[in-house]
Symmetry: C2
Subunit: 410 residues, 2 copies
C-alpha cells in the first residue's frame, strides 16, 4: 500500500462546495488503495483577512499572538475536511501542527522545523484513517504555536512526505502545473510534464507560486512532488530528481525550461560609500536582523575610494528597509540613499544552461530589441535574472519565451 501526502491550497478550499470537492479527491486516493495524509491551507483569503483584523487592533501585532491568530485558519480547514470525509463514509481525523508532531524553533512568523515526530500520524494511519493535517504551523518546545511563513503549507506537506517516507507529495492548487512562463503574460506558455528540483528551486525563488524551502526539502529527501489542479484531472507537473536530459540532447531550444516573473520589487541604493572591508556586512546584518529578505545585490566598481551599493527587496519591505539603511548609512559617510519601486524580475531558468555559453547574450539582445532597459543583472549556474521596469514585465517575458523557443516544452 502506497503512502501519499496530498496538499490543498486555500483557493481549493474557499467555500463549502470546494471543501466537498477536495474531500472527494482525497477519498478517491484512499479508495484507490493508498494510505493518505492530506495537508490543508486556510480557506480562501482568510489569512489575509486575519492579518487585516490584527492591523485594526495593533500597529505592529506581536508575532507570537499573530501566529496564534493565523494558525486558526488551517485548524478550521482541517476540521471541516475531516468531517466532510466522514460524511462520505471514510474514517478520518484532523490534526493540528502540534498533534502532527511538527516541532519548530521559536522564531514566530517564520519558524523552522526542528524535528518531526509523526507517531500520532502513523497511529491514526494504522487505524485506517485518513489523516488531515493543518498546514503552515508547528509548536515550540514551550508548547507555543508557531507559523512557518507564507505559503509554508507546502513545506508541511513535503516535510511530512519526507518524514513518513511517502511515495510522493501531491500539491493541489488552482493551476494545472508548472508552466514555461506565466500564462497571463505569455499566451503560448505551455505546461511542463516534468522539471528538475534544481530548476524548480530557481523558479520558486524567482516568482513561481511555490515555497522555495519546500522544493529544497523535496530535493534533499528526494521526494517527488506532483503539482496539479484541484479543479481538474489534468496530469500536472512532476518535480523530481531524475529528469531525462538525454531525450533533449542537442535540442538547444529546450535548455531553458521556463521564464519566471516577479512584479513585487523595490530597489535601494546607498551612494558614495567609503569603500572598505566590511561595509556590505554592516549594511546587510541589520536588515537580516529585521527579518528583511534581500534579493539581488550589486556593488559597483569603486572609483576614488567611493562605491555604490544597490539591493532589491519586496516592495512591502521598502519602508522598513529605508529606516534601517538610513541609520546605517550615516556611519558609512554615504552621500545619499535613494530608492525606487515599480520594478520587476524576469528570469530564464534551465539546467541545460550551465554547460553552454551564449544564454546571457541571447537574453540581453532579446530585451534590447524590445527597447527594454535592464536595471540590474544577477545569475546562478542555471538562471539569469534581469531587473526591468514593472510595466515591461509582460513584454519582456513574451520576448524571452520566443527568443529561447520554449513554447514546446520537453
Amino acid at each position: 500500500m502506497d503512502l501519499i501526502v496530498q496538499k490543498y491550497g486555500g483557493s481549493s478550499l474557499a467555500d463549502a462546495e470546494k471543501i466537498k470537492n477536495v474531500a472527494g479527491r482525497i477519498a478517491r486516493a484512499k479508495e484507490a488503495g493508498n494510505s493518505v495524509v492530506a495537508v490543508v491551507s486556510a480557506m480562501g483569503d482568510s489569512t489575509d483577512e486575519l492579518i487585516e483584523l490584527a492591523s485594526q487592533v495593533s500597529d505592529s501585532p506581536d508575532r507570537r499572538e499573530l501566529d496564534v491568530l493565523l494558525s486558526t485558519g488551517e485548524l478550521r480547514s482541517c476540521a471541516l475536511v475531516a468531517m466532510t470525509l466522514m460524511s462520505l463514509g471514510h474514517k478520518a481525523v484532523s490534526l493540528s501542527g502540534a498533534q502532527a508532531g511538527i516541532r519548530t524553533d521559536s522564531q514566530f512568523g517564520m519558524a523552522k522545523i526542528a524535528e518531526l515526530d509523526p507517531q500520532r500520524i502513523t497511529n491514526e494511519l494504522d487505524k485506517n484513517k485518513i489523516v488531515v493535517v493543518a498546514g503552515f504551523q508547528g509548536i515550540t518546545p514551550d508548547m507555543d504555536t508557531t507559523t512557518l511563513g507564507r505559503g509554508a503549507s507546502d513545506l508541511t506537506a513535503i516535510a511530512l512526505a519526507a518524514g513518513l517516507n511517502a511515495s510522493r507529495c501531491e500539491v493541489y492548487t488552482d493551476v494545472e502545473g508548472i508552466y514555461t512562463a506565466d500564462p497571463r503574460l505569455v499566451p503560448d506558455a505551455a505546461k511542463l510534464d516534468e522539471i528538475s528540483f534544481e530548476e524548480m528551486l530557481e523558479l520558486a525563488s524567482y516568482g513561481a507560486k511555490m515555497n522555495p524551502r519546500s522544493i529544497e526539502l523535496g530535493m534533499v529527501y528526494d521526494t517527488p512532488i506532483l503539482v496539479a489542479s484541484s479543479f481538474s484531472d489534468a496530469p500536472g507537473t512532476l518535480i523530481h530528481g531524475e529528469v531525462d536530459m538525454n531525450k533533449n540532447v542537442g535540442e538547444i531550444r529546450n535548455r531553458v525550461v521556463s521564464v519566471a516573473t516577479d512584479p513585487n520589487v523595490a530597489k535601494v541604493t546607498v551612494q558614495g560609500v567609503t569603500d572598505r572591508p566590511g561595509i556590505a556586512a554592516s549594511l546587510f546584518e541589520p536588515l537580516a536582523a529585521e527579518g528583511i529578505s534581500v534579493d539581488v545585490i550589486v556593488q559597483n566598481a569603486s572609483a576614488g575610494g567611493k562605491t555604490d551599493l544597490t539591493f532589491t527587496i519586496k516592495r512591502e519591505d521598502l519602508a522598513r528597509s529605508e529606516d534601517v539603511v538610513r541609520q546605517v548609512a550615516e556611519g558609512m559617510d554615504s552621500d545619499k540613499v535613494v530608492s525606487s519601486t515599480g520594478l520587476a524580475k524576469v528570469s530564464v531558468v534551465g539546467t541545460g544552461m550551465q554547460d553552454a555559453p551564449g544564454y546571457a547574450s541571447t537574453m540581453f539582445r532579446a530585451l534590447a530589441d524590445e527597447g527594454i532597459n535592464i536595471e540590474m543583472i544577477t545569475t546562478s549556474e542555471i538562471r539569469i535574472t534581469c531587473i526591468v521596469s514593472e510595466e515591461q514585465m509582460g513584454e519582456a517575458s513574451r520576448a524571452l519565451h520566443a527568443a529561447f523557443d520554449i513554447a514546446s516544452p520537453r
Copy 2:
C-alpha cells in the same frame, strides 16, 4: 495584590473597536494594581457561523472535529485581545485551553473539566503579564481539543477563578446584571445588586443567560461572581453566598427575587403506556444517550393500568427526541405519541419561598386572572415553574412581576 479573573462574552468582542474597548477595561483592572486573567469568548456570532459552515459539509458533523472547528473562535479572540493589550503598553500573553491547563474528559461538545493545572498561568502572572485565556475549551489526556458546551466560557472563567484562588470572577456581557425579570418583557424590571448562588442557579437553569454549571462551580468553591456590562461602568450584580437575608426579614414582597422566562420549549406526550416499573427509565435512558436534555417531566396518575408520560425539551431537540421516543414507545404498547411546540417556561425564584406557604397559589391565581392556561407545573424548593403558551409568556411574566411586587429589588 488581588488576582481577578474577568470574562468577556462574544457580543463584547464583536469587532476591532469592541476588542479595543475590552482591552482598555482589562488594562484598567491591571493598572489598578491587580493581577488579571481575562477569559474570552469567540467574536460576535462566529460560533454560530462555524456551526452553519459545518452543516454545509456534513449532515451530522463529527463531534471531535466540530470541537476543533469551534475552538478556533476563542483562539482568535484571545490572540487579538493579547496583541491589543500589548499595543496599549502592557505585557500580555494568550493561552489556549490546553496551555491554560484545562484538562477535560473526552466527551466532545460537552466535556467536563477533570483537572486544572494552572502552572503556565501562574508563571506568566509572575512575569507581570496579563494572561488572556481562550474560553469554552480544554484538552483530553490524548491531547485532543474539547469544548465545554454552549456558554461555557463562563465555566472556564469561574473554574480558573476557583483554581487560582482569585478574589472574584467578573463576567462582562451586554446587559448590566441580573434583573427581576426580562426587561424586554417587563418594563419595570429592575437590576438586582446581589443575589444568592442558589437563586441564580435556578434562574440560570430556567432562562437567564448564564451557564448553570458555572454558577454551581462558583457556589461549590464560594467564588463571588460579578455580572456587569462591558459597555458601561454600572456596578452590576454580585452573585455570592452571603446575601444578607436579615435586611429583608418580614418584607414578604422580596421573597421572590426574579421571574425567569424561557421561550424555547417543546413538549412530547406518550399516551396510554402500560403502567409498570421501569417505563420511565426505558424512555429517558435512550434520550440521555442521544445527549438530549429533558427538562420538566410529568407522569399522570394511572387509570385502568394505563398512564400518560409528558416531558419538555428544547425546541431544537424535538425532531431527534421524537425519533427516539417513537422507537421506544412501540415496546411500551403506547396508544400514541403526540408533540407540540410554541410553549414557554415562566418561573418565579427566591430563597425566601422555601419557608413560606402560598407562593404557588399566588402564582396560579395571577396567571388565571389573565386568562393564561397552565399546561404543566414543576417546582423546586426555591422555584415554581409553569409551562404556558409562548404567546402569553410576556403577559405571564408581567402578571407575576406585579403579583409578587418585585419591582423594587432588595
